[in-house]
C-alpha cells in the first residue's frame, strides 16, 4: 500500500491564481481530511469528508473548496490564491468505524508559497 499520497510536493503561486492539491489513499478509508500547518504552529482542519459525496467544513474553510467523488480521492481547490494561504497542506485519512478508526494516516504534505 502506498498509503496517503499528495501532489505536488511544492508549488509557487501568484496572487489570484488557482490550483488543486491532489490527495489519494489506497487503504479504503471512509474519512479524509485536509489540514494546513503554518510555520511553528499546529494543524488546523480545513475540510473533511466522511464518505464519497459528503464533505463538511473544518476550522478554516474560507478560500478553499473540496469534492469527494470517490472513496480514494479528496482534492482541495484554492481559488484566488492569497499570501495568507502560504502554508504546508496535509491530507489524512482514517477508518470510519471499528478498531483503528481513531487513527489518522497522513500524507507527506504539500508546501505552497503564494507571492
Amino acid at each position: 500500500n502506498a498509503g496517503v499520497t499528495q501532489t505536488p510536493k511544492f508549488r509557487i503561486l501568484k496572487i489570484g491564481q488557482s490550483m488543486t492539491l491532489q490527495c489519494t489513499q489506497d487503504m479504503n478509508h471512509n474519512y479524509m481530511y485536509w489540514y494546513r500547518q503554518d510555520p511553528g504552529m499546529g494543524l488546523k482542519l480545513i475540510y473533511y469528508s466522511v464518505g464519497a459525496g459528503i464533505t463538511d467544513k473544518g476550522e478554516v474553510p474560507n478560500g478553499y473548496n473540496v469534492s469527494r467523488s470517490t472513496t480514494e480521492d479528496f482534492p482541495l481547490r484554492l481559488e484566488l490564491a492569497a499570501p495568507s494561504q502560504t502554508s504546508v497542506y496535509f491530507c489524512a485519512s482514517s477508518y470510519s468505524m471499528g478498531v483503528g478508526q481513531e487513527t489518522q494516516y497522513f500524507g507527506p504534505g504539500t508546501r505552497l508559497l503564494v507571492l
Binding site: M41, G42, E102
Partner: protein, 116 residues
C-alpha cells in the same frame, strides 16, 4: 469546543537520557482518544502513540510511553533512552469518540532537540 495545549515550545535532551513532553486538553466529553505525533524535518506526520480515554492503563510503544491523567486532563509523553533520530516536532492531538464527527484538534507542538 475542545482545546489542546502544549506549554513547552522547545525542549532539549541529552542522548540516552529521558525527556517528558507535556500536553493538557479541555473537553466535556467522556469518550475520546489522544495521540502523540512526530514531525521530523521531512514534515511528514508520524503516529507515535495513542491512548483511549476509557483505558486506565497508560499506553506504551517501545521507548515511548504516556502518563494519562484523565481527571487532570493531562497527557504527557515520555521518551526514554533518547536517540538522535527522535529530534523532531511533537504534536499532541485530541479526537472525539463520536464516530460521526471525524475531527481532531492539535496542539501547537513542541520542538525536541537531542544533543549528542
Amino acid at each position: 469546543a475542545q482545546t489542546v495545549t502544549q506549554s513547552q515550545p522547545e525542549m532539549s535532551v541529552q542522548e540516552a537520557e529521558t525527556v517528558t513532553l507535556s500536553c493538557t486538553y479541555d473537553t466535556s466529553e467522556s469518550d475520546y482518544y489522544l495521540f502523540w505525533y512526530k514531525q521530523p524535518p521531512s514534515r511528514q506526520m508520524i503516529l507515535v502513540i495513542r491512548q483511549e480515554a476509557y483505558k486506565q492503563q497508560n499506553a506504551t510503544e517501545n521507548r515511548f510511553s504516556v502518563n494519562f491523567q484523565k481527571a487532570a486532563k493531562s497527557f504527557s509523553l515520555k521518551i526514554s533512552d533518547s536517540q538522535l533520530g527522535d529530534a523532531a516536532m511533537y504534536f499532541c492531538a485530541y479526537r472525539t469518540g463520536n464516530t460521526n464527527a471525524g475531527k481532531s484538534t492539535f496542539g501547537d507542538g513542541t520542538t525536541l532537540t537531542v544533543k549528542p
